[in-house]
């Protein structure tokens, strides 16, 4: 796969690294950071990253399974996160050819609607079910999206780092 940022060909991805990174993102989400809606959803960051870069390995089904875990953790209605994660994953897989060729900053802009979808889905569903709308929940959802967008370059850097390693390291290379 080509790294569109530098033009080099990337190393093949390690499946174990994908699963470990998703697991770490899940653990980060489970950290007791307090009940604030603006705490970024690390899992959705990692998930959408892998959906865009390795859509053959990580697709809608893994998004659904991870969303189910988040539903139970959040003591939310079963299926809210599962559905929104799968929808975001589907969109990410659909758009991946377009997004992957862009520079990282415009990538972040193109992914904003996906983050927004995931962040605003629970308040909107509660609005549908109970009839009351929480403007502050929606506001903090937008804030969460902003933070996640700012974290996107960092995510790209961390998760692509193993593939950006050089193939041959010449230890005796003169400086």
């Amino acid at each position: 796969m080509i790294d569109f940022q530098s033009g080099y060909i990337l190393r093949p991805v390690n499946r174990v690294f994908i699963y470990v990174s998703l697991f770490c993102a899940l653990l980060l989400n489970l950290l007791p950071l307090g009940n604030y809606a603006w705490v970024p959803d690390f899992l959705v960051l990692a998930l959408i990253f892998w959906n865009i870069h390795q859509h053959r390995l990580i697709g809608v089904i893994s998004a659904f399974a991870l969303g189910l875990l988040m539903d139970v953790h959040n003591s939310d209605l079963l299926g809210i996160h599962a559905f929104s994660y799968s929808l975001a994953a589907y969109l990410a897989v659909t758009w991946h050819r377009r997004i992957i060729a862009l520079p990282v900053v415009s990538q972040a802009l193109h992914i904003t609607p996906l983050f927004l979808l995931v962040a605003l889905f629970p308040p909107l569903i509660h609005w549908l079910l109970s009839g009351t709308i929480y403007w502050w929940a929606i506001g903090s959802g937008v804030l969460q999206t902003l933070i996640e967008v700012l974290l996107w370059p960092v995510t790209t850097r961390i998760l692509l780092a193993p593939q950006r390693r050089p193939l041959h390291v010449d230890h005796t290379r003169p400086l």
């Binding site: 653990l27 007791p32 307090g34 009940n35 299926g79």
Partner: protein, 283 residues
């Protein structure tokens, strides 16, 4: 489906069984921090704390003997008057694990579940007052809805004059509300609200909230009363679950229910405290 029929509860239980160990793992950084900060407390601090705890303990021991006496006297008088016997309850110490990051509801997850005898509907309190109620139960953990949760209602009684009302939660970090009260009701800022025990879910006499603001609306003959919870809802790590036999019916007590399992002080000869619409003594 989950909202209306609760058909997905088995799925939720299975996923929870899978997820709970991971949640415990993610709690370890906080635990490590707590341990280290505990370990490095100074000797003077410990001594001071020890002294204050000893003082408090002696006070409480004195009060406890008095309380025992009063309880026995009260039960005897109730028996003389042929009143309902007060229900007794057991307590179970619980640890608050974490606060699920859900902006819409206010819940906590505790480390005791149905294996420890906890039931859905049991109230959770700490030393100051009522914190909330168990709303979803797993085998080794449970979810507790806090007082601040939206539309969470507790039947209360004003401690000063015994006026009955119901306190409602209005969502996170908003003051609690006392609804359905006429303008002329005798309320003052600073009144303490205790659980009345009318619903049979909460044992009577636990502090719930304190009135902070009253807005009287003469035209609508209603008053908006705002209060704050007495127990610091989001502060402590430990609490007590009250294993209280939840009574939801108002039927008279049948004979066969004399084997009431609640409470250590329950005598088998008594008619157990089954809630009635009118007590036997006042025909």
């Amino acid at each position: 489906m989950d909202f209306r029929f609760h058909t997905l509860d088995p799925v939720r239980n299975q996923v929870n069984w899978l997820l709970r160990p991971l949640e415990y793992v993610s709690l370890t950084p906080r635990l490590l921090f707590d341990w280290t900060s505990n370990y490095f407390t100074t000797r003077g601090e410990l001594e001071r704390e020890n002294q204050s705890i000893k003082l408090r303990q002696s006070e409480l021991a004195l009060l406890a003997t008095q309380g025992e006496l009063l309880l026995a006297e009260n039960q005897n008088l109730r028996q003389l008057l042929n009143f309902q016997k007060q229900l007794t309850y057991k307590t179970l110490p619980v640890e608050i694990l974490f606060n699920p990051p859900n902006p819409i509801s206010q819940r906590i997850v505790i480390n005791r579940g149905s294996n420890d005898g906890l039931k859905a509907g049991n109230p959770i309190a700490n030393d100051a007052g009522i914190l909330g109620q168990v709303v979803r139960i797993y085998e080794n953990s449970a979810e507790v809805s806090l007082l601040e949760d939206r539309d969470f209602a507790v039947p209360v009684q004003v401690a000063r004059n015994g006026l009955r009302a119901a306190v409602f939660g209005t969502g996170r970090s908003n003051p609690l509300e006392l609804r359905y009260l006429p303008v002329a009701s005798d309320l003052e800022v600073g009144d303490i609200l205790l659980t009345s025990g009318i619903d049979g879910t909460y044992p009577p006499g636990f502090a719930v909230a304190m009135i902070t603001r009253i807005e009287r609306n003469l035209e609508k003959n209603s008053s908006n009363v705002f209060c704050v919870p007495i127990a610091p809802v989001n502060r402590y790590r430990h609490a007590l679950a009250l294993l209280y036999e939840t009574q939801v019916d108002a039927k008279p007590a049948p004979q066969k229910s004399s084997s009431n399992p609640t409470g250590p002080t329950d005598n088998a000869g008594f008619a157990p405290g089954r809630r009635q619409t009118r007590t036997k003594g006042m025909q």
